[in-house]
Symmetry: D2
Subunit: 331 residues, 4 copies
């Protein structure tokens, strides 16, 4: 039984906490909160024990102790703190306490071994500091690992059309603009290369939407493509879903609407590829949608097992089963 | 045991179907679908029996029969078809089959007795054709019934700032504009008067958001207001929630984010009033947010009971308990 | 000939600079820029002399001197610096240099005499520090001054539905939310009272649009209303435009589209009232749209003349004529 | 003197009308309107003669005659009617009247010779029915013609991130979604090939913005790239602008804001390429923004001259000079 603590109970932390709670080989000890907002009600409603980052700020009555108390009681921490805070927490708390930790993709890659369950599980085995790559990189790693294994990749170009804010944010824009972010090639390609070695270049744009990122993917393959075989390959991978526009999946709006009916928080842990994409003899032109709030959740669970020497395929199978991955039907 | 059929398995139909399934005194016989979109997967995943509106369009293999087969097997229909279709269905199916029916607020008010659980339950008792008023009218009826009972209402002016499209819609705008809809006084005041007799005028605007309607409410009361007593009055009504901005409830975004963590589909069946509103001796200036997709669900359930002569308070209590209304804490 | 300097060449500054240039009794000496962005190109294209706020930051080659050099060469400054900077500039530059100044409505009201051309021109005559009230307050002052003069005002309630960001901004949101800002009564009513004494309460919301603010206005009048006479009253005021939805003016989108065809930058200096509003015997329910970027431009020009003892009606006439106010036809 | 009539006085028609009015070798005879909306005021304000498409609908007093009267008085028509109407107008009016016509890119390509001033002017010389390709295709043709001439193109992949509605539209969405439109390869590549023969594939997405289309362009060249030389090549082409983000051009928002200060309607007739794009030895990764309302205006003017046997370079020079193309400085 792996005892797990979650540091940071925000968008990712809430989801990983629930996912840990569903694993038979793990036990959720508690979660930390930084301030007394509505996340406290959510944690309470789920019966999570609350620990505070800063006693003064948090107030006295609500918490079971501080982040240090939580760390002492766990075998591993999943750090879901905001960008840059993971590094601070590593130095301040985890290294001194000699506790291993999982970090999120918003931390710099030198914080530990970068990780994606499908593409490099084994590199994280028995490591103490592991970084689950970001939502966009996770989505790219899953897809490109599959295509690389199946067809060989000669070259990839992806344009990432990014949601500019999460659904809960109300101060971030733009309201009516498209923002190249950055101008020129983006960091997503080099970030992907920390977990998967394929020749890729990426560009990225922010647009005024909150629901999902969209990847415009162009792949040149080494081997010839059989479209039906490629669909079967995708269909066989539970963390990839094919969405059929004839069933109403015309945009990110319907995907998230479907998610709301099927899973709590409307989470779509899977890459969603729009069916009807184009292939030529050695080229793939496809579009995938990535639910930025939840896609990394299964990989966080797998990363925990990797740290304790778990087996890749066995972990993925367990995670998929407990999170209901492989059951959704979108085509 | 009231046997219920749902005609129209869209935004409202899906939710009412689930709510019916939670009632001990009701049994969901089945739902109708008009086309083979992803709603079919949702219905199957929930184990609902599917009936089709149009056999040819629907195909042969999926359905248990047609809408006529469904109607024969039920004691009452809840019609959740798109605007105007309820009237057609009444004439084509329900009246000939002598089955009572509940309609939605997008139908014209002469389709039956207009209904809101709190303000005029008894007028619908033992009626055969009952129309649950729209999301905006339901939100107004709940609030103003409460204030009218508690303080007496001399006059109300509401500006409705409406979400222009539901989350699943992708063709409706505006993208960057504010639309007076209509110019001059809106239909919401006369619609409210079909269920609650208070002096009110309303104006309405469409704005580029999908999450919730927002009501800017100005009430002049007959009796003097005690702010704390008013808060207690609101707190005592389970279908009204007070949201405290100090907990992070700063806009409709955080309300719906909270909803996603707590209820399937993120539904908020309750009026959400932002705490910190202003009162003077006989004036209230408050803002409430209305989740257009789900607020009418409890009233649909109550309307079913009203048709079969049920008791108002008993019905509201049952509905609240089964739907978890009265348990959320937002302040 | 009044020699005018503009401090701050942003959204307002650019417009006031052009407007000053059109006045026969004024001369634009120059404008200050804080950084070397595209505003510099705009200023050059118009032949404005450039002065810099900070020589180091600005670089050496572009400017004719510093802000101090500009101030020495003018009779009055129009300060269009960002919120709070006007106060700093007053203390640092204008008071020591004994130069009178006009400020914008984002500055606190104690910076000088608050000003609206129609409602309190005379209070600013021969004052040295005058604050033109904000876009929203200017729009309210014009309308309510007119109605108060014509019909007497017993009470006003306005819900302001505000554009959340200007067209040129790309970081501000929300993207998909409605934000009560603030919860409870807003500052617009007290701000209006600095220039016009009417009984008013205001509430305000931010919504995801960039084009115009919209005011939902409810007025209770003292005298009985004749709808046609009220329309004529409005029609007779050049700074108020009636827009007829039958000509396509259905939302803020078409108003600004029309503006783009008619005036440089698409500026609409006038209040735009949607025709077809509702009146009862002593109540007005109307909607006006306010172009936040330009509505205060004529009042800035009038404020300059007020400081030098000019006559109200004569100034308004001159300003209207030079800016083309009174010529647009929207109904 | 070429006598020109404009059929359809909407987004494109208004702009082409003004542009025709600026040419010394052309005379604007009049424009047609289909309904009595605010476009009538705009036409009047500019002194354009108005003709009506449908006398009954239009009313009697406003027009100088019907579309047939206009056609009789001109040497050429520029048809700016909505999608599909150009074909109708060709069959109903232009062919019977034996008048040559220019059409817009929303018409099918078999309506006449497709045209882009830079890439295939000569193919349209002395033709009677010429189709100026759409805004997106025009933007691609200009850029790729230049790169093809300078470096040779081995392959192009473009992801078009499209504004979903024009600024004046208020009914079109999405509000909060990204829409692959279509799924798989888009029609833009085949459309481009009607005017320029380069190996290209395109994909396209609609996003919730109104300002500009954005092209994510990946070009593989035949010859080696010198980045500075490429910049100079672009700089030398007046219909291409380089926008420097260090001057504040960070998104489509600032480009259009700049446009509003410089040209009536804020028109940006030029392709705007964000400076700071990436090149490798034989690859270009760049982003260009396309003002969908105005980019085809110069090409419409050039198309008129092509029909009458004009010379390509001479026409482009005249058009550029009269429209102020080549004068904007964005870097």
């Amino acid at each position: 039984m792996i005892r797990v603590g979650i540091v940071g109970y925000g968008t990712i932390g809430r989801r990983v906490a629930d996912a840990v709670g569903l694993q038979k080989d793990m036990k959720l000890v508690g979660v930390t909160k930084n301030s007394l907002d509505y996340g406290v009600q959510i944690a309470k409603q789920r019966g999570h024990k609350l620990f505070c980052m800063d006693k003064e700020r948090f107030g006295s009555t609500e918490s079971e102790g501080t982040v240090k108390d939580l760390i002492e009681a766990v075998d591993i921490v999943v750090d879901c703190a905001p960008k840059g805070k993971g590094r601070e927490n590593k130095d301040t708390y985890y290294v001194p306490a000699k506790v291993p930790a999982i970090y999120q993709g918003s931390e710099k890659s030198d914080i530990g071994v970068s990780f994606n369950a499908h593409s490099n599980f084994n590199q994280a085995q028995n490591q103490r500091h592991v970084r689950v790559v970001s939502c966009n990189t996770t989505g790219l790693a899953r897809l490109l690992h599959l295509v690389n294994d199946g067809l060989g990749i000669r070259r990839v170009k992806v344009a990432l059309i990014r949601r500019a804010a999460d659904p809960k944010e109300y101060k971030k824009g733009p309201i009516d603009a498209i923002v190249p972010d950055p101008i020129g090639l983006s960091h997503h390609a080099p970030d992907l290369k920390t977990v998967l070695d394929v020749p890729i270049n990426t560009t990225a744009y922010k647009v005024p939407t909150t629901l999902m990122h969209v990847h415009d993917v162009f792949i040149e393959t080494i081997n010839a493509i059989d479209h039906e075989e490629l669909l079967e390959l995708m269909d066989a991978e539970p963390r990839i879903l094919l969405a059929d526009p004839r069933l109403g999946f015309k945009s990110t709006a319907q995907i998230m609407d479907f998610g709301r009916d099927i899973r709590i928080r409307g989470d779509i842990f899977e890459n969603v590829i729009f069916k009807g994409f184009t292939t030529t003899s050695r080229e793939i032109y496809l579009t995938q949608a990535i639910h930025q709030e939840s896609i990394v959740v299964p990989d966080n669970i797998d990363a925990i097992r990797a740290v304790f020497g778990g087996d890749r395929d066995e972990s993925i199978l367990k995670t998929n089963k407990t999170l209901g991955i492989g059951k959704l039907i979108m085509s």
